[in-house]
């Protein structure tokens, strides 16, 4: 490994057709590493179909902290099928180890029917340019010539012995392929069979018989790989007693439970749905009512209705569903109803890239909806923060009686990370102003506000309407009252801005102690892109470039003052101001210009739906530093 090969120290890639058990492989591996005390980040790329298209998972394993992103080339790659070999042959390099099915050696690129026409065309062109024969064997030869260690294994041989041994059919036997993949990676990264078994027992805890059979498969793989050199993992540092191994979806679900949410209304949509499914699966223990609505128009309405009775209520969706919710967000806004919307960004516009990630919905989250509707917008950058922000979204919604949009993205939603169990004692439930004994003259919207003491339907009598209204909630068009009510609603944001610190809450500087006036480069980013950027900043610093990240956490109320002072200092000191986002139009930079007058005019952008990788980002930032490029568009990732 070269000097500045970035963390995480181990990066593995497993690939295969959708529906063939790749998630099982990843879960087994993740738990096995976690049991040993390692931190893991496992991210999945998949097509918007159910079965058959190519899918792959990147696993980063780190002894010290959850990896902040992934990088190429990977150290280990294990492939279920020929398509994976073609798709990922450039994702490995000198020193990497590749494990694949030697029975597909003669499969040619043209024969891969499940591959998209456009992808096939690109690969055909690439291989032609490299002078590589478009067959699996041609490609593996090429890899070997690049210094990659390539190990074949006959899947067919294994399958036929399994069929004989267990008297099972072909389809059932194929299910064990996921174990082949898991075992190959485990073995190549130095896990003992017993250590691997921890992952299997977690996975099949309700069906112990399967553990045994899978272990038999693992043993076969282990013995086949007996002589292959292994990649050594450093010892894990100060591991906790337990990890919770969860996706971003699950982190939010757990956060909502911890926040005391009583009702979640949703309509299924990728990549939000798993949050609600996870909540539903635990309904009997949490008591949370998880309600599958007929559409998103209904989902936000059901959640808001529930909120009026004193329940903490939430919904979760992605872009297309959010479009349908926006009229309801406006209603919640004028009615000062606390409702939190978890918005998972995917690739748009329209159906777009429904199973891929993006940061394309920021301006939408901030400005969609007719009329003027103050709202709180908060964007998480990690699994841990997804959980704490899910709690905080509920608190802010009730404290300020305002809709809260909690922004995440598919990268976070569908990737798995190892987290310590949430320290619930460090959380607080803040319900804001509640009227203890609402009388018969109760005024839900008592002026001047911004937060009138709340009573709940069922405890008192009150009125709500989407029309402009008086203190009781009755319709009015009187200009004086209108003015008072508009000001009341917007004063919520002023108050929130007073109460929520900019430094370290609404805005994060990384490294925390960076001195803006001593920088070569100030990089502005948000969400998961910012997290990868933090990793890149460390690497740039190791290379001697004085870089720092300024990460926006709250887009409303916006940290205008602090951002502009940091940017001004950096600018004055001659630092380059760079913006990194996963979209085409540099949305967060637009908001920075709009809300704090700071102009980030050098951009690193990606919009292919695949995450920003550490290596490509570092390279782009170096190119900006060295060649003064104004805009770099990233494209890595199959």
């Amino acid at each position: 490994m070269s000097m500045d090969k970035p963390p995480p120290p181990l990066m593995a890639l497993i690939g295969g057709p959708q529906g063939a058990g790749l998630e099982t492989s990843a879960q087994v591996l993740t738990v096995a590493y976690a049991t040993l005390g390692y931190r893991v980040l496992a991210s999945r790329e998949y097509h918007s179909n159910i079965i058959g298209r190519h899918s792959y998972i990147l696993l980063g394993v780190d002894p010290a902290r959850v990896p902040r992103g992934h990088r190429y080339p990977v150290d280990v790659a294990s492939f279920m099928d020929a398509e994976s070999v073609f798709t990922h042959y450039k994702d490995v390099d000198r020193g990497s180890i590749v494990f694949y099915d030697s029975d597909v050696d003669n499969v040619s690129l043209e024969r891969i029917v499940s591959m998209e026409t456009e992808t096939k065309r690109r690969l055909r062109r690439e291989l032609e340019e490299l002078g590589v024969e478009p067959t699996v064997v041609g490609v593996t030869k090429y890899m070997k010539s690049m210094g990659v260690e390539v190990v074949g294994f006959s899947y067919r041989g294994l399958l036929s012995s399994l069929r004989r041994e267990y008297g099972i059919g072909y389809a059932e036997a194929r299910r064990y392929i996921s174990m082949v993949v898991a075992a190959s990676v485990a073995k190549l990264t130095g896990l003992s069979l017993e250590e691997l078994e921890e992952g299997l027992r977690y996975r099949f805890r309700s069906r112990p018989a399967l553990v045994e059979r899978n272990m038999a498969v693992a043993r076969r793989v282990y013995s086949h790989l007996g002589n292959v050199a292994q990649i050594a993992l450093p010892e894990p540092q100060e591991p906790p007693d337990h990890y919770m191994v969860m996706t971003g979806n699950e982190a939010v679900a757990i956060g909502k439970a911890v926040a005391g949410v009583g009702l979640q209304a949703y309509y299924p949509i990728t990549p939000a749905q798993d949050e609600s499914f996870y909540m539903e699966a635990h309904e009997d223990q949490t008591g949370i009512v998880v309600f599958q609505a007929e559409d998103e128009l209904a989902a936000i309405a059901v959640a808001t209705g529930a909120a009026l009775t004193g329940a903490r209520a939430a919904t979760a969706t992605s872009g297309p569903g959010f479009d349908l919710m926006i009229e309801g967000v406006g209603w919640a806004c004028i009615n000062e109803a606390p409702v939190a919307v978890t918005l998972y960004q995917r690739g748009g516009p329209s159906t777009g890239l429904p199973t891929r990630g993006s940061q394309e919905d920021l301006l939408d989250a901030a400005f969609a909806g007719h009329g003027e509707c103050p709202r709180i917008v908060v964007a998480s950058w990690s699994h841990e923060e997804a959980l704490t922000d899910a709690v905080e979204a509920q608190n802010l919604a009730e404290e300020y009686q305002i809709p809260v949009i909690h922004l995440l993205d598919k990268f976070l939603a569908n990737s798995v990370a190892t987290l310590p169990p949430p320290m619930t004692t460090s959380f607080q439930i803040r319900r804001g102003s509640i009227e203890p004994r609402p009388g018969s003259d109760y005024r839900r919207f008592a002026l001047p506000g911004p937060v009138s003491p709340r009573a709940f339907i069922g405890d008192a009598v009150m009125w709500y309407t989407g029309d402009e209204h008086d203190e009781y909630g009755h319709i009015t068009e009187e200009p004086e009252t209108r003015i008072a009510m508009v000001k009341k609603r917007f004063a919520k944001l002023d108050e929130a801005a007073r109460n929520i610190p900019e430094e370290g809450v609404r805005l994060h500087l990384y490294p925390e102690d960076a001195d803006p006036s001593g920088l070569d480069m100030l990089i502005h980013s948000w969400g998961t892109a910012a997290r990868v950027t933090a990793e890149a900043v460390d690497m740039l610093r190791r290379r001697g470039l004085r870089a720092a990240l300024v990460r926006v956490h709250y887009f409303s109320p916006y940290p205008s003052r602090l951002l502009s002072s940091i940017a001004a200092e950096a600018h004055q000191a001659g630092a380059r101001l760079v913006n990194v986002e996963h979209n085409y139009t540099a949305q967060a930079a637009k908001i920075a210009a709009m809300k704090s007058g700071v102009v980030f005019d050098t951009h690193v952008l990606k919009y292919t739906g695949r995450p920003i990788y550490i290596d490509e980002l570092v390279e782009a930032l170096m190119a900006i530093h060295e060649k003064g490029l104004k805009e770099v568009h990233l494209g890595h990732g199959a």
Binding site: T35, E198, A298, I457, G458, T465
Partner: protein, 335 residues
């Protein structure tokens, strides 16, 4: 609780046109609330947008005047979060059967204990009299430039097909009848629907008081042993068919009354309670206390236990080597 109907009217000036059928519905609703002795704070009137949508402001009970077409979902949220409440939906024909038709159908499927009152005036009143989904084909009200080219929806047939377990029709100006049907509907446990024929004096000069005076009749008057109630599941098909057949009648004669009642299907709230053991005692509205500041509902141990399917006990190589008991002995499922 006083049972004085005036107690259920707010002092607001009612801004419907003089002579509007909505006055009758308003009177029937407030008197029914009074006669049933429903506490205003335990009652919610939820409406969409339209002339009819203003009803909640005139009723002294919780009033939730929502978005066009969305009254049913808001009412659903209120009811599910606080099942002790009596929740009544009031909507126009455009609101419930046009833009809101998807929610109307979905409510039938769920059989949530809501009472839905359709203010059926065959026009979009508030937006100046366009044809609503209940205006028959070929009819030209004075507000239309040309005769209607869409067929009418039969609200009763749609409700029955969608699964409502109480389906009735009444008339805005027959307050006694409307009240009696409304009482039954509110008492019914499940999704109840009442198609209330409501003259719009400003835009609808076809379905007028005069017209209805001649056309309306009560089912029982024609069929004295009319029994719309399904008391055991095997009666369902037959009673549904009878109700659908009767519901077809629309023209010179229009039937009023209760068309269909199914007491064999459980309301949604019971279904939730059956799968969510905490629901009955801790419905969503009561999961947290009314204290402004409180602790999260779970300790860290409870979180680890509830979400144990995501819990991994760490056992490092050092620990393994030092012989500390393997996590095998305390698998997540057992913890």
């Amino acid at each position: 609780m006083e049972h004085d109907p005036r107690r259920y009217r707010t002092p607001l000036w009612v801004d419907w046109c003089p002579g509007c059928g909505n006055y009758g519905i308003l009177q029937a609703v407030t008197e029914t609330l009074a006669e049933l002795g429903l506490p205003p704070e335990k009652t919610a009137i939820v409406s969409g947008i339209g002339c009819s949508g203003k009803t909640p402001h005139y009723v002294y009970a919780n009033g939730v005047h929502t978005l066009h077409g969305r009254a049913i979902p808001y009412a659903t949220g209120i009811k599910l979060a606080r099942p002790e409440l009596t929740v009544i939906v009031e909507g126009g024909d455009g609101d419930l059967l046009g833009i809101g038709a998807g929610h109307f159908v979905a409510l039938g499927r769920r059989n949530i204990d809501l009472t839905v009152i359709l203010h059926n005036n065959q026009v979009y009143g508030l937006t100046k009299g366009q044809a609503s989904p209940t205006l028959p084909y070929g009819v030209k009200t004075k507000s239309l430039p040309k005769p209607n080219i869409q067929d009418m929806i039969n609200p009763l047939a749609l409700a029955i097909a969608s699964g409502y377990t109480f389906v009735a029709r009444s008339y805005a100006l027959d307050i006694k009848h409307l009240k009696s049907v409304l009482k039954e509907a509110i008492r019914h446990r499940g999704a109840a629907f009442i198609d209330v024929l409501q003259p719009c004096v400003t835009y609808n000069n076809v379905y007028t008081v005069h017209f209805y005076r001649k056309a309306l009749y009560r089912i029982e008057d024609e069929e004295p042993d009319w029994d719309p109630i399904v008391r055991s599941p095997d009666e369902e098909t037959e009673k549904k068919a009878a109700a659908l057949a009767r519901a077809q009648e629309w023209g010179r004669r229009i039937p009023l009354g209760i068309f269909y009642v199914n007491k064999t299907r459980s309301p949604f709230e019971h279904r939730i309670a059956a799968r969510n053991p905490l629901y009955a005692e801790h419905p969503p509205a009561n999961r947290l206390s009314r204290e402004p500041q409180q602790q999260p509902p779970y300790t860290i141990e409870e979180v680890m236990s509830i979400f144990k399917d995501r819990l991994v006990k760490v056992k490092t190589r050092n620990a393994r080597r030092s012989g500390i008991p393997s996590s095998r002995d305390r698998s997540p499922e057992e913890s």
